[in-house]
Amino acid sequence: MTLGGRIGLPVVFAAVAALSITVAWLGLGPVMTAGAIPAAVLAVLMFARLRHGAYSAVAAGVVCASFFAQPGLAQHLMLPDGPVWLALVVFALAASGADAVTRPGVRPIIALGVSLAVVQAIDPIGVYIVAAIVPILVSLPQLRANGAQAVTLAVLVLFVPIVAAVLLREAPALALPSILTALGLRSAAVPAPISPFALISAVGAAIPFLLLPTISRTLRTPASVFAAMLTLLVIAAFALTAVLGARREAYWLAATVMPLAAVIASALKPAPSRERLVIMTSLLSLSFSWAAWSV
């Protein structure tokens, strides 16, 4: 069981949010940035997820380290108004979605719905993710085979983000971005438009992981396919929002997409070659990012 599963993801999130808000509120930024806490939690959740997927501590450590060693990523994740919250929520979305696909229990379904509602509230890509998540879920073979289960899952997954959207529309004071901005956890300044190069760099770094469930039939599981499709969806949503004029720092895409590699890897079928393959993929991804960065 993952750390999130043991303690309860909402409890983890609430604690992280409370601690970060306190740090931001008390102005402890120079000592410990508010972004450092969720970044540390993200690292722990990624590690725990991989360990739950029966990876050795070394392999899990390599995957996590290769994420944080991406050029410039760690320092940007530490920023209070950086991409760490989005990364954390998208990771939770992928993890709960993968769990829901594997075993559609109440907890993963609630976590998936809540993650969708939060991602929709904090970032423009959320709307596209919410719109596309159900087609992705029902396209998976085991849900396609059970119509009633697919309908139930679709209704339950979409219910929370839809109600959240209605609530935000009817009671705008509840809007999360404005609360985050007021607390200094989200910058009110308009960043530069995302560069095509940053897009290519992040996508390039993600591709090795996307290929794992795609090319290897022996490793493929519905959950790993879901996580890979979600990764593609996040990239597409970023591209779409960029085309439509959204502006953000270049690191946002990589920071949001790369943690999903841990979800893809953890969902792969256990096989003798899996661990070695995942370590190699992590190193390949890291090499690609640094090569792209140097260029």
Partner: protein, 466 residues
């Protein structure tokens, strides 16, 4: 066939004599009346001084209570939904000779035609007949049911207990009459139409034996076998799935007081006798008993075994049953709030808070829900400015949506996916619960001990009333 007569006086007054503070015979104490009147006076004074601000504060308090109830239930569902590794099925490995005598109480009233299937169902339990002590408990003046019981229960381990006719004519009183006659180390109560899983008694024995003596009661899961008998049955099933599948397990995991469901409660018989059985004046004697056990330092938890019941399918029948439950919850709240400090002392702060949110919150949310709806509609449709638009919006949209969502989740545990879309209409179901709550409140004032009859047997083509 055994035939036994119980002691009606002890059954009716035993609890009130020994533990008067826990008897619902007195609906409300003088101290509680003084407190309520004081609050009422303060409210009237505030209304005279500034009615607008009073309305605002009242709306805020109502909305907070309403949302707190739903949010607490959500947390319980999250906790109750945690999957834990199941221990090896010890129930199957207990040898027959090692099993204790198990008493089974089945109160039956004006249900003569259910008796044959009841007896057949109990005989089908995976438990040696020689170690079963089944007592069909019926009112002595219900000649038809007595005759049916005497005719069909002519086998080893079965007996008929006749309850001397006296008031109050309630199920708990009938059970209290049978309690001193029970021979089992453990005791379970079933309703006449119940269909427990065959190995339920064995599972209960295994769980009791693996637990400390402080574990006094196990609550099996209840669900319905006629979930497809219309919208009301579907909603009722989702309601029960949520209650017994997630909420009660959530309470058990938090080790806080748990209100019992009306049937499939397994007890250590000596503990049940020690606390003087059920309260014959409380119309949700089961909920009260769960809290009373906690007050006496005993623990209640859930049993992973299901009893299938029959859902009521008509609005009138459902309202009668639900208004009795709501009235009983109000009775239970009033009884255990006679000494709030005592409740904190025995159940802890967490137990006290749970009692407020789960028992008090159940009828409070049902009573306040239509008020919040009216407020919401008034602010939106009629453009009346009450200055509390946000309160109404968050509580009505958020609270009702959350309740609806939780109801839909009820379909997940057993994979009854076909029921989930019905859950979308849960906000209507909740308004019906509000109707029942107001009816229950009215009855609490005018006839507090009246036992609203629920018609059973409709699913099998015959209607009977229990």
């Amino acid at each position: 066939l055994g035939e036994e007569f119980g002691d009606a006086d002890e059954a009716v007054w035993g609890l009130a004599r020994t533990f008067p503070q826990f008897s619902a015979h007195k609906v409300i104490t003088r101290k509680q009346i003084v407190i309520f009147l004081t609050i009422l006076c303060l409210v009237l004074m505030a209304a005279a001084y500034d009615p607008h601000d009073l309305a605002l504060v009242a709306a805020a308090v109502g909305a907070v209570g309403f949302v707190a109830n739903v949010v607490f239930r959500s947390l319980l569902i999250w906790i109750g939904a945690r999957e834990e590794p199941q221990p090896a099925d010890a129930a199957l490995h207990i040898r027959d000779e090692d099993l204790p005598v198990y008493s089974v109480l089945v109160p039956v009233y004006r249900e003569a035609h259910i008796v044959p299937s009841l007896v057949a169902g109990l005989r089908a339990l995976d438990y040696p007949l020689a170690k079963l002590d089944v007592k069909i408990v019926t009112e002595a003046d219900d000649a038809e049911t007595v005759a049916a019981a005497e005719m069909h229960a002519q086998c080893e381990g079965f007996s008929v207990v006749k309850v001397p006719p006296c008031l109050p004519r309630t199920k708990p009183k009938a059970c209290n009459v049978a309690l001193p006659l029970a021979q089992g180390e453990f005791l379970v109560i079933y309703d006449a139409e119940d269909r427990p899983e065959r190995d339920q008694l064995r599972k209960a024995v295994a769980k009791f034996r693996a637990a400390p003596q402080s574990l006094a009661c196990l609550q099996a899961r209840l669900t319905f076998y006629n979930a497809g008998a219309g919208w009301l049955a579907a909603m009722f099933t989702l309601d029960y799935e949520l209650w017994f599948g997630f909420l009660l397990p959530g309470l058990a995991r938090l080790s806080v007081p748990m209100p019992l469901g009306g049937t499939s409660n397994h007890f250590r018989t000596n503990v049940l006798r020690e606390i003087k059985g059920w309260d014959p004046f409380n119309v949700t004697e089961d909920a009260d008993l769960g809290i009373r056990l906690a007050q006496r330092g005993y623990r209640v938890t859930t049993l992973d075994s299901t009893t299938f019941e029959e859902a009521t399918t008509t609005f009138g029948n459902w309202t009668r049953q639900r208004s009795r439950w709501m009235k009983g919850y109000m009775q239970t709240w009033l009884v255990h709030m006679r000494d709030p400090a005592g409740l904190v002392r025995h159940a802890g702060i967490g137990g006290f808070a749970t009692f407020q949110l789960f028992i008090g919150g159940a009828f409070f949310a049902a009573l306040i829900n239509p008020v919040l709806w009216l407020m919401f509609l008034a602010t939106r449709v009629f453009a009346v400015d009450f200055s509390f638009d946000a309160i109404a919006t968050v509580s009505v949209i958020g609270g009702n949506a959350l309740f609806t969502y939780l109801m839909m989740l009820g379909a997940i545990r057993r994979g009854w996916h076909g029921l989930a879309p019905c859950g979308v209409s849960a906000f209507i179901y909740w308004l019906l619960i509000s109707v029942a709550a107001y009816r229950g409140l009215w009855q609490l004032v005018v006839k507090p001990f009246f036992w609203e009859k629920t018609t059973h047997g409709v699913a099998r083509g015959k209607a009977v009333r229990t």
